[in-house]
Every structure is written in structure tokens, then in C-alpha cells.
Symmetry: C2
């Protein structure tokens, strides 16, 4: 399964408004999120480093007391154990990459 | 530096036709490549796991004897120590994520 289309993967609604598809490698997990406009992601943290890439739309991310708006071309690098939360300003497509693997998403 | 715009980063031409911007976290390196149409990436391998995401354009990737065309929505998960090569069918924007950090790109 080295090549994957997000559209072929099953999705689950982990949080209201966030439909996620998950791919697990050896050291990383990739998620593709289809997000409804206005959907909020409550503050949380995890031991995994996370990179958030907005492919479409605008996503407001709060991290370490700083709020920024991610759009295509602007990413966030979220260190391990760092509280973060978010809100979709518009309908969004987001790719998150985590390391190590998110065993809680398996 | 949790929030970054690829357009603000310095780029270097690691391979002819591949202008790369690099961001290093604790466990992962993210690269954003602007690729010229037709540019070839010779076969190589590395101990890092790699996830390749084509944001714009079409990129032909060969991995473990299998060739596939990546487009937005279709990704590759390249295991460590696996020979791979590529060719841009069109002008492309590609995001690669590696784990662990690519110290050779630092």
C-alpha cells in the first residue's frame, strides 16, 4: 500500500464536523480531514509531534497562546505535549502528519 | 516558529529543477518543493520514512518496481531504505515529510 488516494479510504467523525481518514506508516501517521465550516477542535495535547498542512480553506489554530490562520502554503509545526485547538473559518481540507504513529487512531 | 509560510523560506536547488524549502522539527523534516515540468529525481534511498503529498501538478513516482502518478489527493508512503525515483509530468508543488529528521538537509 505505498500509494493511496484519500477518497478511497474509510472515514470516521472523530469530533463533530471533522471527518478523518488515517494512514499509518512505521514512524508516522497521516490524516486527511474534511472539515465543516465553523467546526471547532477543542484544546488537547499528545506526545506526538504534529505538522498541519491546510490544502483548502482557512483554519484558525491556537498554539502556545498564539493564534494564526493557516491557508494553503502556511503550515504549523506543533511540538510534542503542546496544547492546541482550532476552528475552521471555512470548509477545509487538512493534512496532519504525526510522529510517532498515533496508536490511538489505529 | 510554530507557524511558517513556505514563501518566506530560503530555497536551494538540491537537484536540477527541484527548488526545496526545509523545516526541521524534533522528529520530522518537512520539505516544500517547486518542481519544473520534466525534472527527474534519480533513484535513491535513505533510512527515513517519507510521505509524499502532491499539492499541485502530476508527479510520476517509482517505488519498489511500481510506478504511480501522484496528484492532489493521492499520496505515497515510502518505507525506510526503499529505493525510489521520480519525474515531474507537469510543473509541481510537492510536500515531503520525513521521519526522523533529515540531518543531511540541515
Amino acid at each position: 500500500m505505498p500509494f493511496l488516494s484519500f477518497d478511497d479510504l474509510d472515514r470516521s467523525e472523530e469530533i463533530p464536523g471533522y471527518l478523518g481518514a488515517f494512514v499509518h506508516g512505521e514512524n508516522m501517521t497521516v490524516t486527511n480531514w474534511s472539515v465543516e465550516a465553523g467546526a471547532e477542535f477543542p484544546e488537547h495535547e499528545h506526545p506526538h509531534e504534529q505538522i498541519s498542512i491546510v490544502v483548502e480553506g482557512e483554519f484558525e489554530l491556537t498554539l502556545g497562546g498564539e493564534t494564526d490562520v493557516l491557508r494553503p502554503g502556511r503550515i504549523a509545526v506543533i511540538p510534542p505535549e503542546t496544547p492546541h485547538s482550532g476552528r475552521a473559518r471555512t470548509e477545509c481540507e487538512i493534512i496532519d502528519v504525526f510522529s510517532p504513529v498515533r496508536e490511538d487512531y489505529q
